[in-house]
Symmetry: C2
Subunit: 156 residues, 2 copies
DNA sequence: TTCAAATTGCTAGTTTAGCTAGCGATATCC
DNA sequence: GGATATCGCTAGCTAAACTAGCAATTTGAA
């Protein structure tokens, strides 16, 4: 069987090596998230929800249960249970939505944020230390590359 | 609360942007895998097993059920059921191990490989088209960066 | 060489976390 | 003002993980 990613020209070879590196990197990130999930004693989806909440909070955005469901691509029913788990473990609170009385706003607790960054901190430091080995121009190229991939693969 | 990834210097800012891009890219890859899983009518773990088998086959390595369990970080019992599902759906076969009569070797069927690349092909093409926008030198930097991250995050 | 310990993949039974269907409360649109 | 849509929820079902433990086989130490 011919490898669909076999290379001929030097450029093809460079592309192939990037694609290979992407595969390995994606695996490594999956394992990193797996490790965090174990460390924090959570399941993968609940941790993904937490990450989403951290990111959205960083942008100053409020998050509804519906948005959690959409982001995780699970049903709202499953999301209700997920939020129940996160509430029971003290990670989030459900607040009333300021203008829509059907809706809720999901808010991280201070303890949850602290716990997350305590466990994420070491990994973040490792990632920083790798990035520090690259010049600003190189980092800009890398960021642009990754953003381009994201946009192409998941245009939203 | 101070953002743990807040930036001061231009370099800090470049690092921060790369980390942000990594987060978005990881999400996009997760969604890409989610899309493939839907298209191929499989669950996420089974698809991850398939990807692992494709990669290992590409390296000419034989794969045991134990190695599947280790890679996916699930129990061997769960792996037995996973392999049952993949066997039932015609994706794999369990062959006897040539020298260890306790062990098995998991082998992809031709149809499975074909199906995988049929569904992966379009995405692979998109990824190639993004990579094609970069010079060989840039691609080399990106590949080195991603490999460094992988190695740091998941030394194995 | 022999026999205890370790390893492989499996079965059985349990738990977790998803799903669909559908409900009451509220908001939105003619 | 009344039909229709949306929000988050409950109830009940299912898929896929888990732990415990087994027979067959291999490995390693006396």
């Amino acid at each position: 069987m011919t490898q669909p990613w076999s290379a001929q020209t030097p450029h093809d070879r460079a592309v192939m090596e990037v694609l290979h590196a992407i595969r390995a990197f994606t695996d490594a990130m999956d394992r990193m998230h797996g490790g965090m999930k174990d460390d924090m004693d959570m399941n993968a989806t609940d941790l993904a929800a937490l990450r989403m909440l951290i990111v959205r909070e960083g942008r100053g955005e409020a998050v509804s249960p519906h948005q959690v469901a959409d982001h995780l691509r699970i049903s709202t029913a499953s999301t209700t249970k997920l939020l129940d788990r996160l509430t029971a473990s003290g990670h989030i609170e459900r607040r009333p939505h300021p203008s829509d009385r059907r809706a809720r706003v999901v808010v991280l607790t201070d303890e949850s944020r602290a716990t997350f960054f305590r466990h994420f901190g070491e990994r973040l430091g490792q990632m920083r230390s790798v990035a520090d080995r690259y010049s600003d121009d190189e980092l800009a190229v890398i960021a642009r590359f990754l953003s381009g991939m994201s946009e192409t693969l998941d245009p939203r």
